[in-house]
Symmetry: C2
């Protein structure tokens, strides 16, 4: 990922131009409060660990089920669809990658909203896809007119969106689906923290793909399990471009246990929602503009003790928090994000520490 | 993977034409002797299970190290290269896929020997790469002249080869590298069962890539860990097209423990070698032509009780063994393979059962 090494001369021209996705900083050592990668502050269901322990031993020498069949069936039951409507990936990033490979190339463009998950342009770059960036305005509503005009074959957007946390209603998503004729990928990485999701729209729209991950609401970012729901013909296309053994034995076993323990997931997602809503009010009380969030993050525009806001102020608070071992995320690359910080919702103690530290920053500023 | 479902009309034209890789049959239920997917008959090192148990718990909620840094360093130490010469994949299949993505497309062709690992044409199909198939002759020597003439940008071959088990000396591989100017991928999935490997050639040839897997000699097919060794510029290109979180926490932890326990790997690989060489003599004693193998498989041409051989005989024995719950692999698609069966080397008991069952087939035939 370093830019110091030159790339092999043998590499394809577009590969030499690629900018790799920048993962959030993963600190070494203890004592950090990690509010920078939208991880869940709570541990995964105890059933996950038990299932993985059972899957250890002699069977690790055997290849995994190439179809993740049992996991597909369980996911299908959860969402009341058929197993032929489900594909499982090595994280939802894997599924998003397969979507770019099956549906986009130099001629068949991929569209994506911006700012949203910054992996979409990275995946399109790897695939050398033609791209259409569909910009949000400051209010962060889905830009329906721009989507309708766009001639992409496949469209990606995140709902609730990242980094803002803004959710889109099914009424809005339906309007988008009525006006866009290609494949529409609704990346629902954060849907378990939201009021609504687009799964019910699958029956109406054959070009709709809903992606999900176990990294956020199920607290399993380290296990790499994600999935997509779509009509069987789209799933078939994704299976054709998929690595046969993309999900290992332990991830299949752990993923299955996680999906089966819905009450645990709902309990920890509920705690995150309550902390989020409480902290949203705290930020509002500071007078900081903060998007109303339906995800496990808050996107807020800090104001310093002199009443100033903007990129310098956001960066200053980012650095101040980091120097006190609190990590949040800063996206300097775009006018709509550069004055903001994205704060992943932690547990109550972590958010209290954050509040105190922001208080010190305001006092010392 | 089914051919019953039609593919989405939105899919790219080449995706509609794809034939997915056919993984070996994974039987349900007990009592099977699985000699069909080159898995190791012995369990992985106990250190692997211990390491995975330690990696469980709260940290599963956190993303894995995107670079698999510790594992890269350990692999680098093992092969006496720098960590910048190593990339880790979700199985070596992941790395092979990245190689097709960074170095081949419609114009930049990928070459591969045939018969070899049947994933190469599948990956090229997914990438829509131009391909050059370089056929082996019956003696299964590396076709140096054909390689030298071929205008591919990247070339894949397996050493020791599959399904034959035939190994290629470094003298031969060096000749190939001297005559081919592009990227040369030596897929060394089976190298731990062989006399020689190409790692020492990395110093001489900047276009050489050596891939390895933990699925065979380390008995970890279920964990999905593989890697490639190459010069830093090639690794950089692969990192740019790689999924950031391709190797999960448990695979990184287990892979690290496996690589550190070289004496265990060598012990089980040694047992497989001895069983293989013993069984090779058995097949010779039956009068069956069998390639001299440096891998964990034997490729043999069965002769029935009437002295007949050929595709019908090979298929008949395949079915006979399957009806007795012994799975081997049959590749009907090519003149050089259709009269043969590929037998993965099991433990001594399994090979004894196989011998007895072949004896019954010969008696009843």
């Amino acid at each position: 990922m370093s830019d110091q090494n030159p790339v092999s001369n043998f590499a394809l021209p577009h590969v030499k131009e690629l900018h790799a996705y920048t993962p959030g900083f993963q600190p070494k050592g203890d004592g950090w409060i990690k509010l920078n990668t939208n991880e869940n502050p709570y541990p995964p269901s105890p059933a996950v660990e038990a299932a993985i322990r059972s899957a250890l031993g002699d069977s690790l020498r055997l290849y995994p089920d190439p179809l993740s069949s049992e996991l597909r069936r369980e996911i299908a039951n959860l969402h009341r669809v058929d197993a032929s409507n489900v594909i499982v990936g090595n994280g939802s990033d894997d599924v998003l990658n397969l979507l770019t490979r099956a549906f986009s190339n130099v001629e068949e463009k991929a569209g994506y909203t911006f700012p949203s998950y910054s992996l979409y342009p990275v995946l399109c770059g790897i695939q050398n896809s033609g791209t259409i960036e569909i910009p949000f305005g400051r209010e962060m509503d889905l830009p329906l007119e721009l989507v309708a005009e766009c001639d992409a074959g496949i469209l990606f957007f995140t709902s609730p969106n990242a980094p803002t946390g803004v959710g889109f209603t099914n009424e809005t998503v339906r309007k988008l689906l009525q006006r866009f004729r290609g494949v529409v990928v609704v990346d629902e990485a954060y849907a378990d923290f939201a009021k609504e999701n687009a799964v019910e729209l699958l029956r109406e729209f054959s070009g709709l793909v809903v992606t999900r991950t176990l990294s956020k609401s199920y607290a399993l970012a380290g296990l790499r399990v994600g999935y997509a729901l779509a009509n069987a013909e789209i799933i078939e296309a994704l299976d054709r471009v998929r690595d046969s053994y993309n999900v290992n034995r332990l991830s299949q076993a752990g993923g299955l246990a996680a999906i089966r323990d819905q009450s645990y997931m709902k309990a920890i997602a509920g705690k995150v929602q309550r902390t989020r809503d409480f902290y949203y009010e705290e930020l509002k009380a500071l007078g900081w503009f903060t998007y109303h969030s339906e995800a496990n993050m808050l996107f807020t525009e800090p104001i310093n003790s002199k009443g100033e806001k903007g990129p310098t102020v956001a960066l200053e608070l980012f650095e101040y928090l980091k120097s006190r071992k609190i990590l949040v995320r800063y996206f300097p690359g775009h006018a709509l994000t550069a004055s903001f910080l994205r704060i992943s919702v932690g547990d109550e103690d972590q958010m209290l520490r954050l509040s105190e530290t922001i208080g010190q920053w305001l006092k010392n500023g």
